[in-house]
């Protein structure tokens, strides 16, 4: 039976797609067969983040009935399967029934399906809540963002969808930021991982090369740990001194 996890956020720009792509790759690296589905029609960046240029077939082609569910499936070098999106549909055109049919079909071969859900509280968001077994909230350490997370908690409760926890992204470590504790207290959710606003992330997005692909990346290890928690598998990030890490990187180990 395939488990469906949606990656959601209250607003755009939180790093939701970055999280979906890297978490999917991390799960795949733990021996799972994962399908990552881009339903964020306003900002369809999953394929780009995975280093793929948009192909002929996207989720739009499927939702319009031009192709079947399988034809929209692409494969990343890691074996991760993903369904890309493009900008040609509006949120109103996303049918929950069609998404459900697609997920049913994927259950034949996938251990887990990760949905990169649209940000905010639109139809796509509610569809994601409805079809998911659990959700993961991505947010930033801004005080305004806490309200969005609280709203997500309320909505998820209404839909009876379990919230796995929060990924707190783009932390700068400045005084003005909401702290992990404050967010946990205000939302009642556990912050599972904190991701710093780091050049490594910007570089990985710019180069269309996910951080998880880099075996030395500390942020990559954070996603692997998160994946291990989700799957209840063991993962311990190897520890190297900065000098050894530098030497290994130079040698391409």
């Amino acid at each position: 039976m395939t488990e469906v996890i949606s990656i959601v956020s209250g607003k755009g720009g939180t790093g939701k797609t970055f999280t979906a792509a890297n978490l999917s790759l991390a799960l795949q690296s733990l021996g799972e067969q994962v399908v990552c589905l881009d339903t964020d029609l306003d900002s369809p960046n999953l394929a780009l983040q995975l280093g793929h240029t948009p192909d002929n077939h996207t989720i739009e082609d499927y939702l319009r009935g031009d192709i079947n569910e399988l034809k929209a499936v692409n494969v990343h070098d890691s074996g991760l399967m993903f369904v890309p999106s493009s900008l040609h549909l509006t949120d109103d055109e996303v049918s929950e029934e069609s998404i459900g049919r697609m997920l049913d079909r994927f259950s034949g071969f996938a251990d887990r399906t990760i949905i990169d859900a649209p940000p905010g509280f639109n139809r796509g968001f509610y569809s994601s809540l409805n079809v998911s077994d659990r959700i993961l909230v991505v947010t930033n350490p801004e005080y305004q963002a806490i309200n969005d997370v609280r709203k997500i908690v309320d909505e998820a409760e209404d839909y009876g969808t379990k919230i796995e926890g929060v990924v707190l992204n783009k932390i700068e470590g400045v005084f003005e930021e909401a702290s992990k504790k404050e967010i946990e207290k205000a939302t009642g959710l556990k912050v599972l991982k904190t991701i710093p606003r780091h050049r490594e992330v910007t570089k990985s997005i710019h180069k269309m090369d996910p951080v998880v692909s880099d075996p030395h990346s500390k942020i990559g290890h954070s996603f692997r740990e998160l994946a291990a928690d989700i799957t209840e598998k063991d993962f311990k990030a190897p520890w190297y001194s900065p000098v050894v890490r530098g030497l290994r990187k130079l040698k391409g180990v």
Partner: protein, 666 residues
């Protein structure tokens, strides 16, 4: 054929009327999702000359989205001197695997026309160029080029003139229909005059019929449009180059981009590719084999973010799983060299989404897939096991375990054999709702109760691989015991073609390549004397000979019949899997021949296959199937006793390589 350099082959521009022009030669330039093809002779019409097309699918094609679209039928051209047409005679064609050069001459003038399809195809556009070079002392030379266009899905009728938009702006011609466009750009002037024409394509879709004069192909008529013209003054520069772009949403810059494509890169890439393989000392064989490798690497279509081989050209421009996995199974090492391990792994990972209840979809389709290829899922597993054997990739082995297990679970039956519908294997013709594989006199109540020898041979190999990977040996012994009992005809020393388990058990004694495939796959299970007995049957009932054109060998073995059936002349679907020769079957025959020490027969078949590749049909490629040369031939030639190429001229699984090659170590 003359040769010029290692990879260039020169042919006369001529037709071959034997068996209704079945052996007419054509060039086929293939790139990812694109193809450009014309016959190796030219025709004249209204003062213009153009390379001919024998199939309505020839010309410039490109697949965008899910539609394989024909754009240009042919460029028509004429050379003028002082306003009068210079009469040139078609002379030769020089072919390399990546370009075609047509040469025309008279006493004082020579004109060369080069056709080139760029490797830089994108998901929505493709293109290339045509270059005209004149060598003449005539005055006031002018070249007029007028494209014959036919923008339509390859199986569709031609649209009417009114459906096109033709725009001639400065040096660019743009012809559009329904969102699809063809653009030509050169350094000449353009005009937008249009004229609808009619054209007969004499080989049609490869089907044949019996007429008054004998057997001929059912021709097809289409109505291409002569859409505008470009004129070039050739007095000083002596050459003109036209950039071509086709697809959706194309722009002038695309035509310019494709015009800049450089075939010297193809030569360098070819050298790099060929450097990975070893070749025989015989110069002719060596050159033919090099061309075969390079054309093998041109099978390519985009699916699931991967470029993978399609089943063949034109109406086979999709990924058909049994064709794909048969090719991958036989050519695993070649694919490793050409594409790399990661590509194979990615392909296998992607493809398993098309397996359901132990059965594979027949092909990638935009509508709901039809799950009707039981050999496809078994071949898939054999490819997966072979990939693991070659790479030792443990992660892949773990990953594929579930697929292995679920297929075996879905198909397993008590006696260790599997039953299925008769069309679920490669002989999949169904006419009036009944598989052509079922003997005509059989009464069948339940079509899911058939036992096919080749499917069960694949099945036993899958069990064997499963045992090697994960352990389960008792199942193999059981399955092999049942197989022998079910299929082996002790009296004849051969395998039945098909068995039906209804209220009574029916067995068909017709000799078939399905049995040869089973013998080949299970060659290590049979006793040597049994294989020898089977070889005697193959030799007498199935083996077909052919006289090579380029080797002085007399009539030598070429392939085997699919069935030793009474239907001995291919006309259409009813004979598709009867007494016809599919080169695809040869790979399984080789397994038997190797095992019984008849390597020389294998070598003769290989040589003869290369000879076909270079002498008839699509040069550098292999036909899908051949008819026996029986019936009334409308025009006898010295080749008339050879098997007759019919249906599709470019087929992936006919294009086997490993049996020819020894892959270089390291």
């Amino acid at each position: 054929m003359k040769t010029k350099g290692d990879l260039t082959f020169r042919y006369p521009q001529e037709e071959n009327p034997d068996w209704g022009y079945a052996r007419n030669r054509c060039f086929v330039l293939k790139r990812t999702d694109a193809c450009w093809s014309s016959s190796l002779f030219s025709v004249k019409k209204d003062g213009f000359t153009a390379p001919n097309r024998d199939y309505p699918q020839q010309g410039l094609l490109f697949k965008t989205g899910d539609r394989y679209t024909k754009f240009m039928d042919a460029p028509m051209f004429k050379l003028l001197s002082e306003g009068n047409v210079v009469e040139l005679e078609p002379s030769e064609v020089e072919l390399t695997p990546w370009k075609a050069k047509y040469i025309y001459r008279n006493d004082e003038t020579a004109l060369e026309v080069v056709y080139y399809l760029s490797p830089s195809t994108m998901s929505d556009k493709a293109g290339g160029w045509i270059k005209f070079t004149v060598d003449s002392d005539l005055n006031d030379l002018e070249l007029v080029v007028s494209p014959l266009v036919d923008i339509r899905g390859i199986g569709e009728e031609s649209p009417d003139k009114g459906e096109y938009t033709v725009k001639a702006v400065k040096d660019t011609l743009r012809i559009s229909r329904d969102g699809y466009s063809l653009m030509l750009k050169g350094d000449g002037n353009t005009i937008d005059h249009v004229e609808q024409t009619k054209w007969k394509y004499k080989l049609g879709d490869g089907f044949r019929e019996e007429g008054d004069g004998g057997i001929r192909f059912r021709d097809k008529e289409r109505k291409p449009l002569r859409a505008g013209a470009m004129t070039f003054e050739l007095n000083d520069r002596k050459s003109a180059k036209i950039g071509i772009a086709c697809g959706r949403d194309i722009h002038e810059v695309d035509a310019e981009f494709f015009r800049g494509s450089d075939p010297t890169k193809d030569r360098k890439l070819a050298e790099r590719t060929l450097g990975k393989f070893s070749f025989p000392d015989d110069e002719k064989m060596k050159r033919f084999m090099k061309a075969r490798i390079l054309s093998f690497s041109t099978f390519s279509t985009r699916q699931g973010g991967i470029e993978m081989p399609e089943a063949g050209e034109w109406w086979f421009k999709d990924v058909w799983f049994r064709d794909l996995f048969e090719s991958l199974y036989h050519e695993m090492e070649v694919y490793q060299e050409l594409k790399g391990d990661q590509w194979i792994k990615k392909l296998l990972t992607w493809a398993r989404i098309y397996i359901k209840d132990g059965v594979m979809a027949s092909k990638v389709d935009k509508s709901d897939p039809a799950y009707n290829s039981i050999d496809g899922s078994l071949l898939y597993l054999l490819c997966a096991a072979k990939y693991y054997e070659k790479t030792g990739d443990k992660e892949f082995k773990e990953n594929i375990h579930k697929t292995f297990y679920s297929v075996i679970q879905s198909l397993w039956e008590e006696d260790g054999l599997i039953r299925c519908r008769p069309e679920y294997s490669w002989m999949d013709s169904v006419i009036d709702g009944r598989s052509t594989r079922i003997p005509e006199n059989w009464d069948v109540e339940d079509e899911s109760k058939f036992l096919l020898p080749e499917v069960n041979a694949l099945w036993i190999k899958v069990l064997e691989e499963y045992d090697k990977l994960y352990g389960a040996d008792e199942d193999i012994r059981k399955a092999w015991g049942s197989f022998k009992e079910m299929f082996w005809d002790d009296k004849k020393g051969f395998l039945y073609q098909i068995v039906y388990e209804g209220s009574e058990v029916l067995r068909d004694h017709t000799e078939s390549s399905a049995a040869v495939m089973a013998l080949g796959m299970l060659k290590d299970y049979f006793f040597g004397y049994e294989l020898m007995e089977a070889w005697e049957v193959i030799k007498q009932r199935l083996l077909v000979h052919r006289k090579p054109v380029y080797f002085d060998d007399g009539h030598v073995p070429f392939g085997i019949l699919t069935k030793n059936s009474k239907r001995r002349t291919y006309m259409g679907d009813a004979e598709y899997h009867e007494a016809v020769i599919w080169p695809r079957d040869s790979t399984y025959l080789f397994m038997v021949l190797e095992k019984i020490g008849r390597k020389s027969i294998k070598e003769e078949i290989l040589k003869n296959t290369l000879d076909h590749q270079m002498s008839e049909g699509a040069i550098f490629y292999n036909h899908e199937l051949f008819s026996l040369p029986e019936g009334v031939n409308p025009h006898e030639t010295s080749q008339s006793s050879n098997p007759v190429p019919v249906k599709n001229p470019i087929q992936l699984w006919s294009h086997f390589l490993t049996d020819f090659l020894e892959v270089k170590e390291g």
